[in-house]
Homo-oligomer: 350 residues x 2
């Protein structure tokens, strides 16, 4: 590619899950919440459709930052708002990773991390998860400028405990980014690393409104960290990186935790049923703390099952990557969606 | 700053114009449109506040791209949508500028360009505009990976003609980015460089919905260029970089050009009156093709005038930068806002 930096020319680009524009699909492939956002969010949005859309938004999203700080028990200066947590990941890489700097993370995990390292011309260091998806022994010793830990992890759904996160943060040489996109779905309370940021100056915790708050369409994420890290990230973000309506949606969502918690509990119940039924169908299923499950038939390529489900208008996620070809990642849908999925999977098996 | 790359630690960060949260200001400092967005935009937005906000948006904004392609007479593959044109500027720098690569632009201009180069650890090459704000002779010979031309230029409001743009694109060694945030306000038709992209493979044209379409609060921009450049930029953008509502607002705005054109004509009429009145007050005013004017009192620091106006609840833009301290940049407001501004400026002069 003429003109482009060589690392950009050479890289492949991230491939997101399919977003079919046709109707009629049961969509269990991109971990969206099957339940609508809070009616209070919709009502706040309706109020905000006004001539003031002609004006720039708050440059630092201060209203939302203050609300988030109070919800998460931190100071406003510990919070930055992003255009989805994807933007915050990109800002982190630009802050901490120069050409040929190392970025380490256990795999398999969210494959966007690879893409972001390529964009910075950094060096990706993959460390295999052990079979129980605990923190790999050798992860901390990689001399990485940034270490990622997706927790709960995608696509496994597994969770690493707070003491393990703290030990890792103290052992790495650079920044530890704990990506908590799915943490609201964890089985037990107290899974979030946010309380650790006050004593770990190299810890960044990422949150998103795309999953538990049912707002994937609005693109909002948060990063929580020390004042020093947040103020550096502020220099790198675009000056007006979040639009007026997304800020308002996220603020209203945080103010209605009951709605989010009710949906989380419904998804947890669905997850339990889905895991049990998949096991009855002969799949190994990892203990999931997320709104999806990873179902495996060891050594058996499941591309055919994925394609057959798609033909039957059900989308799940198949990863054509080493070590994952015998897996399907399935989002926890509504009880009815789960029922249809299981019926079709049983039929395909026959 | 611990952990940060040295270029990030050393840089200052871009300072956007003030966005007062208090009411009662006449806001002529950040070039927002004084008129509301189209009622069709508001109506489309109201329709879109629905349970589907739980779903991710179209990853490539294809509906909006197709609409824009048809409006601007290009192919969909010539268009990429960004979270404001600021995001597209940032994507361009990440595509084309590695550490110590050169980025050239005539100054004074949009100061965000400096910040973006700092983030990439690139080298900024400033080339002074001549007094008539034509393209500087020496701009093309700077061996730059990227050359910026803000056209109409901010803060001068001056316009460079299409033949000059084409000559510059053919003479530079890398990419030429023509930032057309204000081009809809140009005095004459045919000011946009978009028709040139079909024959200039290194030309990128940026557009925004923040100015003529009255949608600064929604953060949407477009880049138009060759298929090759657009497909490379797609690799670097976040996978879901534009939210559902912003896409819908922009699509509806493009489908109601009459609303935009009517507001542009009102602003052009206001601009003419404002320029004439400022000249009567003793200011030099550059011929403006934008929704702002640059008013100068040669050699006289105008910070006091800016502060006095702010005390009187009128915000204009004062740049505390060499060569601009004898200037005020004033957004063209409504006729009433212009009237109040001029009355207060006359009073301050007395």
């Amino acid at each position: 590619m003429r003109y482009f930096r060589s690392n950009i020319g050479a890289m492949a680009g991230y491939v997101p899950g399919e977003q079919p524009q046709a109707d009629g699909f049961i969509k269990l492939n991109t971990n969206e919440n099957p339940y609508a956002p809070s009616p209070k969010v919709c009502s706040a949005l309706r109020q905000a459709i006004a001539p003031s859309l002609r004006l720039y938004p708050e440059p630092l999203s201060d209203t939302l930052r203050s609300t988030a700080a109070s919800v998460y028990g931190v100071k406003r200066s510990n919070v930055i708002v992003g255009n989805g947590s994807d933007e915050l990941l990109s800002i982190l890489l630009r802050c901490f990773v120069g050409s040929q700097d190392r970025v380490a993370f256990p795999t398999p995990t969210y494959s966007l991390y690879d893409t972001l390292v390529d964009i910075q011309d950094g060096i990706t260091v993959h460390v295999d998860f052990p079979s129980d998806f605990a923190v790999p022994e050798s992860l901390a010793g990689q001399n990485a400028a940034v270490t990622f830990l997706c927790n709960p992890n995608a696509p496994s759904g597994t969770l690493v405990s707070l003491p393990e996160v703290e030990r890792l943060a103290r052992a790495v040489s650079g920044i530890l980014v704990v990506d908590e996109a799915y943490v609201d779905f964890a089985e037990s309370e107290g899974a979030s690393s946010i309380p650790l940021i006050s004593r770990l100056p190299n810890l960044v915790v990422l949150r998103t409104f795309s999953k538990s708050y049912s707002l994937a369409g609005m693109r909002i994420g948060l990063a929580l960290a020390s004042d020093e890290i947040i103020s550096g990230m502020m220099k790198v973000k675009d000056s007006y990186n979040v639009n007026r309506l997304s800020m308002i949606a996220a603020t209203a969502a945080l103010q209605d935790p009951a709605w989010m918690n009710r949906n989380v509990r419904r998804i947890q119940r669905g997850r339990k049923k889905l895991m049990a039924a998949l096991r009855r169908l002969g799949y190994s299923v990892y203990p999931s703390h997320a709104n999806f499950v990873l179902a495996r038939k060891i050594g058996q390529n499941l591309k055919g099952v994925y394609e057959e489900l798609k033909r039957r208008k059900i989308l799940v996620r198949y990863f054509d990557a080493p070590g994952l070809q015998d897996c399907l990642r399935i989002t926890v849908g509504t009880p009815r969606e789960i029922q249809v999925l299981l019926k079709e999977m049983a039929a395909i098996d026959d």
